[in-house]
Symmetry: C2
């Protein structure tokens, strides 16, 4: 139910980290690319093959220490349907290793169209009576600008499962305030208004640990808002981007967690994926080992903030 | 530059219609599905094949009377990467027939991630020095909740081309007001604030007909807001969903157009695609002919509203 499986994995591994899988070609060691391009030429197939090999290597070194991975759909779509196939295969591989998979697609639409996205990414698609999993992730990021019509189809697919969504509330980027920080009449901000909608949308989906299947994206780069939103949104689990490369530090995210050290999972993409590019004299074949070292370092920094993570 | 090519096509064809291509299996005649499933089994490949055959039939009957088509990404993603491949092939086929293609993906993200979406859907992807078109549409719908950081990467890709984007401003669904109609301090609504941002984002992309490459999505179901936004957003071209199946009528959309009959393109998806299901005794092989008849009917209704469409 809801994010119970994710939350239990965070506690079991004592690690509130989600590792981003945003595999631009520039992040991938040459030897992987050379093998892929030798096989498929300088094509989208070749690029997609390199992405998948790179991801599998990372997953093999991370699955026992992080509870979740977050592939960013954009980095697969840019390599065409071939890249999207690599996304599907990445998700399948990560799940086979017991990881909770959050597809970062920021999808949004209404009615039957949003239902199509929900079925695509979290549910199954009916093909002449057969139910087939298209992508089969465990959670999807969603943009809530269209209101309830854009969220209800996802809650419907998540009902009774341990899948869920994360709605953009206060994003980590510098310009997020242009819309999200606008003050509404009655003194609420747009982001707080969106956050309160998350509480409402999640009401029927609260799991055993007190959090619902409707989470919120709140950036590590805005510590004050993290603290404010944690206080206001008691049943809303946070996905926290912006840590590391975007400037958020472990100190910034203290406010995201509740007294059990739960309530949030912190994303690092480039920090973990590209760790190999920062270690001197590292054989490129050890790129995933460097990712593991970085992930363990991050885990320690986060545990300093949360203290021991306890299931309530 | 900007939407000049789209606008010229609207004037040339005297038709401000965009035909939605949202090919759910339920909309596709049995004979197409049977052939596809015979070839590929009851699989996502089979479904994707049916989608593509169906779309090509529609495009063949529509390309000389409508200026544009709008495939909705969700209906392809629900059939997995195989469906996404059918999306890429649909776009390529539509472009080969001279149609302007708007991918309705409502994508949104920031920085290099949004750049990846822009390259995926509108630009090209670099693969070891080769520039390859992944999807190659002419326009993309975008959700602006993240502010400038989520839009600038798209304007960068569109700069100097005749490609563009449509930002969600006031969407057609019943719950769109939950966020979009909120009143800001100073009496602006969230949707008007978003609209004014579109004007600002498009400033450097205004084409020869006075409209920029940053358009806005404004629903046919909200005629007052259409009129208000047309008046306030002088350089912003509108994509108008919600006509037909969602309840918007030709009378509702008068406010979307300027005095030349330009300023907006009106979407119909199910109305055109599913026309064949409403004609009695129609041989299913004529499904696309029924779509053509419906599209011609819609064109006449819209021209009654716009009058003769003139290039300024």
């Amino acid at each position: 139910m809801a994010f119970d499986r994710l939350i239990k994995a965070i506690a079991d591994k004592q690690n509130p980290t989600v590792a981003g899988l945003d595999p631009k070609l520039a992040y991938i060691p040459d030897y992987i690319k050379e093998q892929a391009f030798e096989k498929y030429g300088k094509t989208l197939e070749g690029a997609a093959e390199a992405l998948l090999v790179y991801n599998k290597g990372l997953i093999d070194e991370l699955y026992d220490i992080v509870p979740a991975v977050k592939p960013q759909a954009a980095y697969y779509e840019m390599y065409g349907w071939q890249g999207v196939k690599a996304l599907a295969e990445t998700i399948r591989y990560a799940k086979s290793k017991g990881l909770f998979v959050i597809t970062d697609g920021k999808r949004n639409d209404i009615g039957t169209t949003m239902e199509a996205y929900a079925n695509a990414h979290l549910g199954t698609t009916e093909v002449q009576g057969e139910e087939i999993e298209a992508f089969g992730a465990d959670a999807l990021t969603v943009n809530g600008y269209l209101g309830t019509d854009g969220v209800a189809p996802v809650t419907k697919v998540c009902q009774g499962t341990d899948k869920g969504m994360f709605i953009l509330v206060k994003t980590s980027n510098p310009s997020s305030g242009e819309v999200q920080n606008q003050q509404l009449e009655g003194d609420e901000t747009v982001y707080l208004h969106m956050g309160m909608l998350c509480e409402q949308w999640g009401k029927e989906l609260v799991g055993r640990y007190g959090y619902s299947g409707v989470g919120a994206v709140v950036g590590a780069t805005y510590p004050e808002q993290l603290t404010e939103l944690r206080k206001e949104l008691k049943h809303t689990f946070f996905l926290v981007p912006g840590y590391g490369a975007q400037g958020g530090t472990a100190d910034d995210i203290g406010g995201a967690f509740d007294s059990n050290g739960l309530g949030a999972i912190v994303n690092s993409s480039r920090g973990i994926m590209c760790a190999w590019q920062k270690e001197e004299n590292l054989p490129p074949q050890d790129y995933a080992k460097a990712a593991r070292r970085e992930a363990l370092k991050m885990k320690e920094l986060l545990l300093d903030v949360t203290g021991e993570i306890k299931l309530p």
